[in-house]
């Protein structure tokens, strides 16, 4: 199909509909408002559910109820709103209720600002809920990828019976770009959910319970070990990344989302200057794509992590690095969107320093 020009937030909303989203529950917050606004109109037109919840806390718990009853469910918010959802996310993961959660990140901490940022990497990949749990988390770079991943995420959530987080940012939310909403991606019809509390215990022949409580610690440990197996499966199957000009690179950027996109421009400029830079672009940020670091060419000597934060993903880079490469970092935070030139300068300064 032809590409259509859409605003990021609206494209995300439409992608959710295309991905099979049955119900949306959310609470307004900048810079993601066009997403619920779009759905308030179009979910109804599609005979689906849209509810503006009284708060983010209520929204995530509505997600729990609807997802636990078998529906494909979406919620979206931005940074402080995601903080409020942490208890609910821990419940969703603990009870293995699938759902999709979009975070259109803005600057923090606290109320912070409303400009685009990536300072919720920890919030998204480590969670702030309690317990040993994980959520799949994808960080797309442009609208097409965002749309594709959101469409697919409902399928993934169902397959793993787990929440999936989308790490977007204010840039992706507010920009317009042509997107192909029909581009095939791994979108499957919702599977049968024999575990769901649909209110049909009679038909089914047994009761279903959506529960994260295990009063016996041995049961709770067993439950956690079962979950861990699933997480390990995700680590195996869902590491996603793109390698950009790494084949002969000396300095390899590690950057995701909007920052990766900006870094692409810097790579062009630097390559024009004959400086061999490349990039590992994590698309999944949980699981972090450790595989991408496995077969880097001998030419590589430094990993330069780039973030729209003061350095969060760099921890994952350190974890995977284990002393192999020199590590460096460049970041802007608080809603400042860096210019490619700043990255170019950073690299030039590094070369300078090395000489």
């Amino acid at each position: 199909m032809a590409k259509v020009l859409m605003k990021g937030n609206e494209a995300m909303a439409l992608a959710a509909i295309k991905g099979g989203c049955d119900a949306f529950f959310g609470y307004p917050i900048t810079p993601q408002n066009e997403l619920p606004e779009y759905l308030s109109k179009h979910m109804k037109e599609n005979g689906r559910v849209f509810v503006q919840a009284e708060s983010e806390v209520a929204a995530i718990n509505m997600v729990y109820g609807a997802g636990g009853s078998g529906a494909r469910v979406l919620t979206s918010s931005s940074s402080p709103g995601i903080a409020l959802k942490q208890e609910g996310i821990s419940y969703l993961a603990g009870s293995e209720v699938p759902c999709v959660i979009i975070n259109v990140m803005r600057g923090g901490p606290g109320l912070g600002g409303i400009q685009p940022a990536q300072s919720d990497y920890m919030q998204i990949t480590r969670g702030g809920g309690n317990g040993d749990y994980h959520t799949l988390a994808f960080a797309p770079e442009n609208l097409q990828e965002t749309v594709d991943i959101i469409k697919e995420s409902f399928t993934l959530a169902d397959e793993y019976r787990n929440p999936v987080m989308i790490a977007a940012d204010g840039l992706l939310g507010q920009m317009m770009e042509p997107v192909d909403l029909e581009r095939s991606s791994n979108v499957k019809e919702a599977p049968l959910k024999p575990w769901a509390a649909t209110g049909e215990s009679g038909k089914r022949g047994h009761r279903n319970k959506i529960v994260s409580l295990f009063l016996d610690p041995n049961d709770l440990e067993d439950h956690n070990l079962k979950l861990q197996k699933k997480y390990n499966r995700m680590i195996d199957e869902q590491q996603r990344f793109e390698m950009i000009h790494t084949e002969d690179a000396e300095i390899v950027f590690v950057a995701y989302g909007s920052m990766a996109r900006i870094a692409r421009s810097a790579i062009e400029t630097l390559r024009e200057k004959g400086i061999k830079v490349g990039m590992i672009r994590p698309i999944s940020i949980w699981p972090f794509p450790e595989k991408a670091f496995e077969n880097l060419p001998k030419s590589v000597h430094t990993l330069l992590t780039l973030e729209m934060s003061l350095g969060q993903m760099i921890e994952d880079v350190k974890i995977v690095n284990q002393g192999r490469y020199k590590l460096d970092f460049f970041g802007r935070t608080g809603g400042v969107v860096p210019e490619p030139e700043e990255i170019v300068e950073k690299v030039l300064a590094m070369k300078e320093g090395a000489n």
Partner: protein, 253 residues
Amino acid sequence: MDTTTVYKPGKGLTDRKLSYCPGCTHGIIHKLVGEVLEEKNLIDNAIGVASVGCSVMSYEFFNCDMHQAAHGRAPAVATGAKRVREDKTVFTYQGDGDLASIGLAEIVHAAHRGENITVIFVNNAIYGMTGGQMAPTTLIGQKTTTSPFGREKAQAGEPLRISELLATVPGATYLERVSVHDPKHVKKAKKAIEKAFEVQEKKQGFSLIEFISTCPVQWGIQPYEATRWAVDNMIPYFPLGVFKDARGGETDE
């Protein structure tokens, strides 16, 4: 001899031993809900939402599909479930700490949206589960583990009356406060539950039945004395009765 069974444990509850302390009226309320579920043929058609409190395990007791909600959030969970399963009967079972304290916004807003769900609200004037702390419904002068000198108005305010508060919310259709301190009131309480589920079946909106309940263990008295304490102290402050009936048409009171 030829006999007719006039009372027996029904199928609305599972066979699991209830986890409540001896003589706790949570059990009576469970039975009533179970009976209504059974009599109205809802067991195979209902989604219940357990809350966090002594009734946290009620997902093991009600014999239908169940969710276990985070503390205070049962009305939000029920909203999610009902919106995607409109034809199912959805109910929550919540204590007074759960509903009147941490979950106040969720219950008011479920009522405000006119969610077509039924809430079973068990008011025992205390946090049973966590060891007898003060609840919003704790009476003035009542000693609890966090009001060791008795609840004082100056420090903690006067108890919140939830049915009265919800009566001001347009979306609430049926609100009644009942008690289970003797057989007569138990019968009345069951009628109230029936009405509430009927409201939901007729898609008339939000219904809530508030139960005056006991907590012998945290009140530190015997179960029967606890029912007397409820009659003597709670009911005067939390009067029984219908606080809202916006069912329209032929109402019965």
